[in-house]
């Protein structure tokens, strides 16, 4: 037999009964939450044209996508993300119905470097609010993200909130090129002060600009960060960014979430976000569970002139966090197993139906007779076992009453 016949590709995973049940429960609570909040669920194609996801400055690297071709030789990819397809869909079919509130729970596939316990297949749940601008819309998204974490049983979380415009304002003020900005953003994302210093010393930035930029990695913490940040620059772009964050915080106060927020003006990542960005983090996982933000430029790249904001939550990461917090999920068993001797199928089937009507799962056991049934009950494969004998009489085997 070929070895690969019993293996799965690296980064893919089988989801086993207990895990799967937990995952569906989480998905169901999220779906309900999205729907109650006015977000309509959509599903986008598994295969899309590569160009949906690539873009000069913020696209996903083609190296990280699973690619194939259509009959005309055009490059297709398994969707590596759901935001771009949702925006594509809105730009071509919903542009008359803005604002649009869309949600999705679907798997995405990426092609990460080997050797890391990275998930190449991941279920992503998320929402996009397309066509609404301003801090209040952003706060709605953040509040919904917080509700998601609570809905899946993670009450202890933190919203890490940033605004990329603050960084770009400082970059503009320093007169740095776009390339340098992007490189600097990469070091800043790691709070790598030394790396930033090196880049800046080569960039020809003024000493003053450099000093300011070097403060960025430490501009995180509670709301006291604003005071430090305001002193840093009176550049209108930076001031606007700070005002926007304060407005978002004021709106989050309405939702009782202000105390769950940590500000980080050095928060930045290479993507389409162009306003506030945020991540939902919890002690139970070393990486962010939720990430989102405002991305007005993305609809523009699909010729849709509309602001947009949203977030995505990784369900596969969530499963890891829940397992670390609560231990491995319980493996579900069928409540009642029913065995029967020749000719007693009708009675056995009826008994199963009765159990099901009462809301208990039930299934028939065909082989191995009474002995096998007793064995399964002892092994914990069911909570109750019933044997239907020759007379058609139901006999409940050992163990507790149902």
């Amino acid at each position: 037999m070929e070895l690969t016949r019993q293996q799965i590709p690296e980064g893919m995973q089988d989801v086993m009964p207990g895990q799967c049940a937990l995952m569906r429960r989480c998905e169901n609570s999220l779906r309900k939450l999205f729907s109650l909040s006015g977000y309509q669920e959509v599903q986008t194609p598994m295969l899309e044209f590569l160009s949906v996801f690539t873009s000069e400055d913020h696209g996903i690297s083609a190296r990280k996508m699973w690619k194939t071709f259509d009959r005309e030789g055009r490059i297709l990819t398994l969707r590596p993300d759901s935001t771009a397809p949702a925006v594509r869909l809105a730009s071509t079919r919903l542009f008359r119905n803005l604002p649009a509130r869309l949600s999705y729970i679907q798997s995405i596939a990426t092609c990460e470097d080997i050797g890391e316990a990275s998930l190449n297949e991941n279920t992503q749940a998320g929402v996009e609010l397309i066509g609404s601008n301003g801090a209040e819309a952003d706060a709605e998204i953040i509040a919904l993200a917080a509700r998601c974490l609570r809905a899946v049983g993670l009450d202890e979380f933190l919203i890490d909130l940033g605004q990329v415009e603050f960084f770009y304002g400082l970059m503009e003020e320093a007169g740095l090129s776009r390339d340098t900005s992007l490189e600097l953003a990469e070091s800043l994302a790691k709070k790598d002060i030394l790396g930033m210093e090196l880049l800046l010393s080569r960039s020809g930035a003024s000493k003053e600009a450099m000093q300011k930029l070097m403060l960025l990695p430490s501009l995180y913490g509670g709301e006291e960060v604003f005071e430090r940040a305001e002193k840093l620059s009176d550049n209108p772009r930076c001031q606007c960014a700070l005002k926007n964050l304060k407005d978002i915080l004021a709106a989050l106060d309405v939702y009782g979430l202000r105390s769950m927020v940590s500000i980080d003006l050095g928060l930045i990542y290479k993507s389409y976000y162009n306003g506030m960005i945020f991540r939902g983090i919890t002690d139970a996982l070393g990486q962010p569970l939720i990430s989102g933000g405002r991305y007005d430029g993305l609809p523009q790249s699909f010729s849709l002139k509309a602001p947009a904001t949203g977030f995505g939550l990784s369900l596969s990461q969530l499963m890891i966090a829940l397992e670390r917090k609560n231990g491995a999920p319980e493996i579900p068993v069928t409540h009642t197993l029913v065995g029967f001797c020749d000719g007693a199928l009708a009675t056995a089937a009826r008994l199963c139906e009765d159990e099901r009507s009462a809301g208990r799962s039930a299934a028939l056991i065909y082989d191995g007779g009474r002995e096998k049934l007793t064995e399964m009950l002892t092994a914990g494969s069911c909570k109750a076992a019933v044997w239907i004998g020759k007379s058609g009489k139901a006999e409940k085997l050992g163990g507790e009453a149902k």
Binding site: I193, L194, P217, D283, L285
Partner: protein, 213 residues
């Protein structure tokens, strides 16, 4: 509780000396015996002793909040973890070295074979200049590569340069400076801010003082 990943060997020694200066009890990790998870007297800190190249992994996955690792290891693995401080010890550099007669021969040889423990750094270093190389991954005694004709050059850590000299090799060019870095998990940095931030600040002060001396 804060979990600190220590890179077994010299880096761990230096790190413990640093932590002890801050009044953190390191007696258990100093003589760990066979234990792998160790704690200080107050129970505020726990330590795990790991292979140097595993430090970024433990920190990335959040099972250690903080770690100390060489810049070389961090660059090679390029994981999204926060690299908050240069601790100033473990200083050396990464450099390209080879036999003297191979200097400047890259453009005239068909393929350029580089033996190294750091394939990713090598790829990025040459790739950044638009040069394609053939990488030969070795796990130790990299200097052997050019001596036995396995590779044209090596990309490796150079401290005093005495190993190179003893084998008739010389440095062609520097790749970058290396030193020990304090790394922090990006989630811990926020969720355990109240404990971690003062610790970073204190270590930073101490490092500065030492450098001024």
């Amino acid at each position: 509780m804060i979990t600190i990943a220590l890179a077994k060997g010299r880096l761990a020694e230096e790190t413990m000396t640093l932590l002890e200066k801050l009044g953190i009890d390191c007696s258990e990790p100093r003589s760990p015996g066979r234990k792998l998870v160790l704690t200080d007297k107050t129970g505020e800190y726990s330590f795990i002793l790991v292979k140097p190249s595993d430090v970024p992994t433990y920190v990335y996955h959040g099972v250690a909040d903080i770690g100390v690792a060489g810049k070389d290891t961090l660059m090679e693995q390029n994981k999204p973890i926060c690299e908050v401080l240069d601790l100033g010890f473990g200083r050396c550099k990464l450099a390209i070295a080879g036999k003297p007669e191979m200097r400047d021969k890259q453009n005239t040889s068909g393929s350029w074979r580089v033996a190294t423990k750091y394939p990713q750094i090598a790829r990025r270093f040459y790739g950044g200049r638009g040069q394609t190389i053939e990488i030969i991954k070795l796990n130790g005694s990299v200097e052997l590569g050019p001596l036995v004709g396995l590779s044209h050059v090596i990309l490796d850590i150079v401290e005093s340069g005495s190993t190179l000299r003893a084998n008739g090799l010389e440095v062609f060019e520097d790749v970058c400076e290396v030193s020990a870095r304090l790394v922090v998990n990006e989630v811990s940095l926020k969720t355990k801010q109240a404990e971690i931030r003062p610790l970073i600040d204190r270590i930073s002060e101490l490092t500065k003082e030492r450098e001024e001396k």
